[in-house]
Symmetry: C2
Subunit: 406 residues, 2 copies
């Protein structure tokens, strides 16, 4: 493949990557305890194996009654019921219940104890109950068979509570082995840095890509294997790449992705693998590459070739990986500035939420200062981003655009 | 304090809790490696100790030139420069540079190698450069002294990259010891559950509160200590509570928070501690309690007394804890339904994002089915929530409301 010569559209690039991910993840799961499943991606649809509650139960501390017995009761006109024990009541009887207890047979409501006076074997009730009042009914929270978690969904704290409530102990979650490789003679790992002056004197840059990507992958509910920083040396890159391909399902490389004299990463990948694409009409993030590698056993591995520029790399990660596994929620909001874009190129623009305050507050979005792909500080402050299609020359102030919430 | 008799407003409750948190967290931090700081809460303002880039550097692979030398150059009208080596150029000279390399003295632009032909000691340039083209200038990404992270902010992957780029290895983050105690005879831990029928036969409920709260606390960037499930037994509750107070800064209890016969938790806390509030005019979440405990050494510990109902407990956690440490982003969006509320009470309503599609797409919010505080499935599906103040009777369709993004 001729590198960076045939730039393809964002749409086509996304299709190539996502189709390959579809194939890869087919059998990549592990079963873990629900207790450890926070932020993981479910690998199965889960349907409720039972109604919840499983029986009618009291939602309050009070007395199980027959609602009709209390009709007309009030502060000034209390009625008297017989207080009994057991698990069944008849007309004009009641049984004391605590929150969560099953409703005795015959009863159809619970009157809160605040509205009652208990005396010996009698109960004075100063409240007119209605049928089902203060009863959590079978299936009220979840109906048997209802889907409570879909394959591909990220598991949140409420899902954990739901799954456990239904007696579900274990869950299949996405399990991908992901290797991270950063290359570049100009890079230095933070552990090896003595002081800031070292950066200036030796013209070095701290390797921020590996830790950033590691954090981004963690946020996606997956865990990366981090390989040691590689110099711009073809042999060294080849060895570490082959090793990483052997140990992982997916590799991310950063740096050496252009076609400069020192861009060995792309050269090595091009030699070893089938390059599926190199160069996408997006900004930032143009020199994105994507390749496939077939092991001797016929297993396919995927390689995401990211820019060494952190913002470009972050955008490439967002568009081609994060959005597959954990798509962002989006909204349509008005712009409070004009923005320009270039025909034939998809622009990814970071924005923040702002309030317009004429008579009533309304939300709008405002672009963060648009600058080079190195400008990390802007991405750290963004609330959302928008993807400006290749056929769009820009938007005018007031136009409503689709934004993805970060 | 008379329990659940003097319900206070959401506003007052929040002030009491947040003021106490302000005092407590004063000295609660630890220093950790930036590499491990994802999702933690920064305990310090961090200002950039240096400009970034620290020196003018090339943003491209190409040739460092004097822009003025190339004025008028084009595909049909190339100009010729002398290709030299070293770290300085004069008029009509150029030096080859790779991305990230320092700009030689005298040069003021980099022309991309795509627009050049290198021949022996000469360079043919087919591009008219402008000053500073393809140069990342000192301080372009970050200016020395600029605040890059504020105390209280949650550290995201981009912050990690920024901090490391600036040579910052360690960071002070919030460090609170948090104990979780759940009580209730009706509860069973998931580990002890044999099968679902056991729940029905023994009228048991799986303890979902502890794992849910544990996950919520993890999402807040803190780590809980989980205590074993406690029966409704006053002595047992007292022992475990005293033990937990000794080992933690903050305790969360769930269950036993009302004033029923089995509500020993609140009784024990009321005996041992100074009860700051019990009962808030909110729905769901009314029986929220908050107490202070003073150790023999004079240290103050805080106790958050949450409902046993998972949704009520989740809302109480959100309003009185999560919002302190990690406030949600909010937006003003129109409602696509009428909603009713009750005067004198603050309602917390879960909503989802919807699209209205007349001529142009717009975003609106729609309430999820409003049901009892036990209905966890609704909270798991919510995109956002709104807080309906105690003076508001409801909203009409089309009104713009403030929503907090989940």
């Amino acid at each position: 493949m001729e590198l960076l010569k045939n730039l393809i559209s964002y749409h086509d690039a996304k299709n190539i990557v996502f189709n390959n991910l579809d194939k890869l993840i087919n059998s990549k799961y592990k079963t873990i305890s629900v207790l450890n499943s926070l932020n993981k991606i479910s690998f199965e649809d889960i349907k409720a194996p039972t109604d919840l509650p499983m029986f009618n139960k009291s939602a309050m501390d009070g007395y199980a009654i027959i609602a009709e017995d209390t009709f007309g009761a009030s502060e000034n006109n209390p009625i008297i019921l017989n207080l009994v024990e057991g698990d069944e009541i008849s007309s004009e009887e009641c049984i004391k219940v605590c929150t969560g207890m099953p409703i005795p047979k015959g009863a159809n409501a619970v009157v809160m104890k605040e509205y009652c006076n208990e005396e010996d074997n009698f109960l004075e009730v100063r409240w007119s109950s209605y049928p089902n009042e203060n009863i959590s009914r079978i299936g009220e929270d979840i109906k048997k068979g209802e889907t409570i978690l879909k394959k591909g969904e990220t598991i949140n704290p409420y899902h954990i509570a739901l799954l456990l409530s239904l007696g579900i102990k274990d869950i299949k979650v996405m399990d991908l082995k992901i290797g991270l490789i950063s290359t570049g003679d100009e890079l230095i790992d933070i552990e090896d840095l003595k002081d800031i002056q070292q950066l200036k004197n030796q013209h070095k840059i701290v390797n921020s890509n590996t830790p950033m990507l590691s954090a981004l992958i963690n946020e996606t509910g997956l865990t990366p294997n981090i390989y040691k920083l590689v110099k711009d040396n073809e042999e060294e890159i080849k060895n570490i790449l082959l090793n990483a391909l052997n140990e992982n399902d997916i590799i991310f490389t950063t740096g050496g992705t252009s076609v400069g004299d020192r861009d060995y990463t792309i050269k090595v990948i091009n030699d070893l693998c089938s390059m599926e694409l190199h160069g996408v009409q997006i900004r930032p993030g143009k020199p994105f590459g994507f390749a496939k590698y077939k092991t001797n056993e016929g297993e396919e591995k995927l390689i995401f070739i990211l820019s060494g520029y952190p913002v470009a790399g972050a955008v490439q990660f967002e568009l081609f990986f994060r959005n597959y596994f954990k798509p962002r929620k989006y909204l349509y909001l008005p712009l409070n500035r004009n923005i320009a874009s270039t025909l034939g190129r998809t622009d990814i623009l970071r924005l923040k939420f702002v309030e317009t305050n004429n008579n009533n507050k309304k939300s709008a979005v405002e672009p963060l200062k648009i600058t080079g792909s190195g400008v990390l500080s802007s991405i750290a402050k963004a609330d959302c981003y928008t993807i400006i299609g290749e056929n769009i020359e820009g938007y005018e102030k007031g136009e409503v655009i689709k934004v993805y919430i970060l």
